[in-house]
Structures are given as C-alpha cells and as structure tokens.
Symmetry: C2
Subunit: 419 residues, 2 copies
C-alpha cells in the first residue's frame, strides 16, 4: 500500500519555517505498513496543488495533505479538494457533521462558534470531516474507490494529536492493514568503534544478526547504533529485543551496550539512575543549561535530577561552585583542574550522589592555539572519586553545544554503571 504526503505552504518554500510534520507522519505511516513513496512541498497556489493532487492520487492508496486548512484567503486546500473531487463550478454547502465538530472544537477552548466566526461548517459536495483534537479547523476526508484522501492542519501539535486520535481509525476502516511490517531491532553502544565490535569483540555477531534481517552499523557521535530491519509484528520485535538483550548482557559487548531499542541518551541516564537509586546534577558553563534541559525533557526525571548550576562567569564558578580563583588564574576556566572542582562543587551544592561538569569553548570566538574552539573538559564527582578529562570536538556553536552535552551524558551513564 502506497502513500504520498503533500505539504502546503509558502512559508516552507521561502524557508521561513521548517517542515516539522513529515518526519512524525512518515514514522506513523511506516508503523502501519504503508510505504511512503514521496513527499512534496508546494506553495499555496491552486494551479500548483491541483496537478500534484491528481498525480499523487493516481500513484497511491493514501494521500495526506498538511496545511492550508485555516480561515484566511491563503488557505486553499478546501477549494482545491472541491476542484479535484467535483470539478469546476462547485459550491460549498452547510454540513451538519462539520457544524457539530466545529462547535465542539470551540467549546474545548471555552469559546462559542457561530456561522459568522468562519466557514468551517461549509463543505464541498462528497467531502467529509474528522476531528481535530487539539485545534479548531476540522480535518477533511474523501473515501473513494478503496483510496483515501486526508487534509490535516499544518500546526505540528494539531497533526500529532490527529495521528494519535482519529487517523488510525480511518486507516483501519478503509484498509486491510498488515500485521507484518518493517521492524527495527536497535542496539545502541558507546565508547567502541565498529571495527572493534565486529572484528574483535563479537566476530560472529554480524552473521548472527543477518539471520534476523538486514544489518546496518550507524556510527554516532559517542558510539555505534546497530540496526537490524526485518519483517514481523510488534510482538516479534518485542520477542527479539528480549532475546538479544539476554544474550548480549552476558557478552563482551555488555559494558558498551546502553540500550536495546530506540532510546535517547537522556532517557537511558534517567532510567539507570532510577534503577540504582542515585541522584545527580550538573555544573555547566559553555552549554548554558542544555544538559539540564535535555534531562528535564524526560518525564519523571525529578526523581533523580536535582539541578544544574550554569556558571557562565568565572565569578559564579567561584561563588557558587567554590572553584579556587588561583586555579582559574593558573589553568584558565577551560581546564581539567577547574572542571574537576566544578563537579565537586556541584555535588556539594546540590547534595547529589553524582555530579558532572562541563567547561569548554563553543566558539566561534574565544579559541586559542593551546585551547582551540571545540575544546571541552568534563569533570565527574562521586562518593568514590573526582576526576576530569579533556576532549577535542569540531563544528559550529550549536553543534558543539550539542556534542559537549552528549559527552557529558555518556560519561554520566558510565559513572552510574560503576555503582
């Protein structure tokens, strides 16, 4: 079963905003067994959209548009759907179903909708509506000759709510969805290059995994993701994950394996800390709070994360983290000595079991020959010891902040595992 997505909006083709809808829609379609063959970004223009709609409909079983559903003049999806389904000269007429949906959408935000508010209740002939659980404009639907055409809103959170809400039911009603789809068995490792994994540590692993499916090895910043893609059900994936987790936990790969399944490093850190009953916190400088931000994106992190002390200025490092002014003068703020003191200071100030610190140069200015842009010192403090290490990374300011936070989080994961 083939699907196409048409993303509508001038603002995407002028680069004013990035398309945030394709990736989640694509993931959802893949999980249902649909093959997404193409995505097209187009402008809010009738003569652009109409031929795209026609050719997408011809090639696919399911066509989803996003955007252009609002009440203003540039929202042309409804008119183009009318042209496509009914041909030129059609008129809109009131739909009881649409009127009920819109009334309830407005009630949700404690407002009263009336026919003077907008034209959400007026529909082209043969077109239906479906609920928008987080927005006001209903989705549009046309079901014809075993195919489905859906119009969804461009606002990402509204689309997400539709993917969780009414859309799975629409698919289930119209298509015989396969129970067997592409499944990805994922192993996430750290601190080990792929050639060591496959040539030294586990020389039979690749062949054994190939019996399950197609194997890929994807090097990431801090380690390698091994992905095995196979045809199966969700249950098959759960069974394979369990089987391989039990096997690998007893293998030489165990100390490097941090997730079986598609976890983020911040999720793994929170989970392991919860399992071991350890609290933690950070002392940040150049990352400005990014490490704490990432950890607090994880629901339930408050049970283990106590805080992050962002000391951008040296004075703050001295006052809050008790870094010695002599060390700052002698070694500089970006040094292993200061990183170590920052970690110790944060562990004390936050009363946590484990603290990790970061001090580095995210650039583009501030580098020197001895300490170029991309230099990062990571400190760690626990009841056992405190230590620090210097690394050199490359990239833009954004990129470096992200990489620095990655190193700190992987370091924390390893530290947790020593307890």
């Amino acid at each position: 079963m083939k699907a196409q997505i048409i993303v509508i909006g001038d603002e995407l083709l002028s680069g004013r905003i990035s398309d945030a809808n394709t990736a989640p829609l694509a993931r959802w379609l893949e999980s249902t067994g649909f093959h997404l063959s193409r995505v097209i970004l187009t402008r809010d223009k009738e003569d652009e959209l109409l031929p795209l709609l026609k050719s997408a409909w011809e090639d696919s079983d399911l066509v989803i548009t996003t955007g252009g559903l609002g009440p203003t003049k540039d929202d042309i999806t409804k008119q183009v759907f009318d042209l496509f389904i009914n041909g030129p000269g059609g008129t809109l007429s009131e739909s009881v179903e649409a009127r009920e949906l819109v009334t309830s959408h407005y009630q949700r935000i404690n407002k009263v909708w009336s026919p003077t508010t907008n034209h959400y209740h007026m529909l082209p002939k043969n077109l239906g509506v479906f609920s928008n659980p987080k927005g006001l404009a209903p989705g549009l639907i046309w079901e014809s000759s075993n195919k489905v055409l859906l119009a969804t809103p461009g606002v990402p959170r509204e689309l997400m709510a539709m993917i969780e809400g009414p859309m799975p039911e629409i698919l289930a009603r119209n298509f015989k969805l396969p129970r067997i789809t592409d499944q990805n068995l994922i192993f996430k490792t750290h601190s080990i290059p792929e050639e060591i994994i496959f040539f030294e540590l586990m020389p039979n692993l690749w062949n054994e995994l190939e019996e399950v499916g197609k194997v890929s090895s994807l090097p990431q910043v801090m380690g390698v993701d091994i992905v095995v893609t196979f045809k199966g059900t969700k249950q098959d994936l759960i069974r394979e994950e369990k089987k391989w987790e039990e096997l690998l936990i007893k293998s030489p790969l165990a100390p490097h394996l941090w997730s079986v399944g598609p976890a983020l490093i911040e999720e793994a850190v929170v989970k392991r800390a919860q399992e071991k009953g350890l609290t933690f916190g950070f002392a940040e400088s150049c990352t400005g709070g990014l490490v704490g931000h990432r950890i607090t994106n994880v629901m339930g992190s408050s049970s283990v994360f106590k805080g992050s002390l962002v000391t951008y200025a040296n004075e703050a490092k001295e006052n809050i983290l008790k870094v010695s002014s002599d060390s700052l003068k002698e070694f500089g703020a970006v040094s292993e000595q200061v990183a170590q003191q920052m970690a110790k200071g944060a562990r004390e100030a936050l009363s946590v079991d484990l603290a990790v610190s970061l001090t580095g140069i995210a650039g583009p200015g501030g580098g020197s020959e001895e300490k170029p842009v991309g230099t990062i010192c990571i400190g760690q403090a626990s009841s056992k010891e405190s230590r620090s290490k210097r690394y050199q990374m490359y990239g833009s300011r954004d990129h470096l902040k992200r990489r620095f936070s990655e190193i700190a989080l992987f370091g924390l994961l390893k530290l947790i595992d020593t307890f």
Copy 2:
C-alpha cells in the same frame, strides 16, 4: 527564474531523520531572487529519482539535489545523473579536477586519499565537480542550455558551507541574478494584541505600510510580528528599516516594539542588556536550563549573562537560592512567593543586576485543580524591586517549556527597558 529541490534519502521517508536542508536552501534561493516552486523528498531508488529529475529539469532553471553523494551502495545520485545526462550504458572515467578536489578535501582532515579509498574521482561524461568545504564528497554540477543541475551532500553542515562557499559563484556565473528581489520589512512587537495595534494605537499604520508592500500580521506566543513584503534591493530594505525605526520609536507603538528586523528574543535581550550595561542571570526549575541555553546560543552573551541556577529539587531551591522552607511548605514550589524568592536568591548568588526566575508545571503529570499543567510563575529581581506573576499556558511538555522560556525572556526585556 524557477528552482526545484530534490531531497534524496530513505531515512527521510521512514521518518528516521527530519529534513534539515530545505529551509536554509530555500532562504538562500529566495535571497538570490530565485523562485522555489517545489521540493520533493524521494527514496534512494533509480526508478523514482530519474523521472523526478527529468520533470524538475523541464520546469526549472535550477535543480538542486541533496543527499546520496557518499561512497556506499545506496548513494545513487551520480549514477542517476549519468542516466539523465548521457542515457543508459555510460561508464565513469577519471576526472583530474575531481581527483584534485578529493585529495585536498582529505588533506584538510589530515588523511591521504588514494583511488582505492573510494570512487569520488570517477565521473560520468559531461559532469563537473565543485568544492565541499566541510566534507569529503565533492558536489556535482551540470551546466547546460542556460540551466544548472547541482548535487549537494545530505549532511546539513556540509551543505551550509557550500551555500556560503562555492554555490553563490556558480549562480552568478550562470544566471543574470536580479538586484531586485522580495524583501521582508519586519516589526516585532510584544504584549499587545493585533486589534489594539491597528484599530486603536496606530489606526493609519496598516494603510501606510501597504504603500510599501504586502502587509501581514502574524500573531506569535508573546506578541505580533508585522511583515511587509516588497520588491527591492538589500539597500532598499536597510533604508526602509531605518526610516520606520525612526518613525516608530516616536510612536505609541514604541513601548511594544522590540525589533525592526528578524531578531530572536534572546538576541534582543543580549543586545539591550549590552546597550544598558546590565548583567543578568536566571533561576530555573521546570525549564531545566532551556532559558540559559537559549541565551548562550547568542554569540557574545558572556558580556552580560553570568549564569542560570537550575534548582529542580526543593532542597536545591533552599540551599542555593535561599528560598524559605516555610514558603515552600505553605505556598508550594510553584507559587508567586517562591518565584519571587528564587529571583532574589539568583540575583544575589550570581551577583547580577537583574535576575528572572521560573517555576511551573510542564506536565504531563504534576498538575492539580488549583495549579494545572501549564501554570508558570515568573519572578523578577532588580535593584529597584522584586516581584512575580502567574500565567496559564497550554500544550505538551516540550511546547510548555518553550513557552515558559519565552515569557521569561520577554519579561526580562521589559525589565531591562525600565533602566
């Protein structure tokens, strides 16, 4: 002059990664005067890509592909270009130009390239190469019948470097680029609804702006962006910006206008604080460090930003920010009383002129009837006074963290303006 972009990669259509290349490419194309009519995301498959390439070439003066330039089997761009340009049965042959480029690309990362490393030096007939300043695989170029076809890498930072580097020169060589293009005159306002701006405060503004170009009013989280699009040169835009800035600064809109031009709120905060010679810092809780992270994304923020104390646990609020345990017990961590004490505590601990605090509930858990998810209390402390205010927002955890940080930054901007 019309352009199309073709984004190549299975990983985009399975939703494993988001397309990060279209937005910057689109912005760049718009700035050169090209009209980007369509963007297509397609899989790494010859029979998908070839017809797309043909139809894009027919409709456009410039076609840019991104992705599929690497050395592995799924990187099919070069073969498909060969089929498209030379038809079936073509062979690759060594290009001196390509060989030199690749050798220099490898030298940049202190590695030696040889013909056994990969086939980057082998090109289809009639195809040329251009430099990849931040990567290894050269770009591919075909210039024919006053049209240009470019293949660029899928890695965003490599593509960005090409946009800054060789690509403007390629366009200038092949096309008569217009000096006159679409220019956006942007006014960013806060704390005022659009109907008050246009109906009460400045009833003639819309009409006056319409003499410059097409006016749009775009409501954002904390205010309204007014955008006027007109045909002109970069110099025309600078002149209009200057003229309107001078006019509006004396208008009733002045207290609500925070930027003429496309600034981010964190950039405006840093700039104003620098102008006034004021230092600032934050006390964060539910945002986990996001506010500090945003500020430190701004280059040069270290001259005014001293730090952000993320006190996620109550104990940390007491120890580090000196919030009274009685207040925490009586009013709860999410309260105007605690927010105010957090701001005062941060101002002292960080020795800054101004401190802003945030304590709220980002959800999805942790809400109550009295304090539902989305409740946020913002505190402010300066030499003049300390105060706090409670707001109610809506959305997912991600969304709320972002909105909370937005309120805090706008509050800080207003606070700076009182000095």
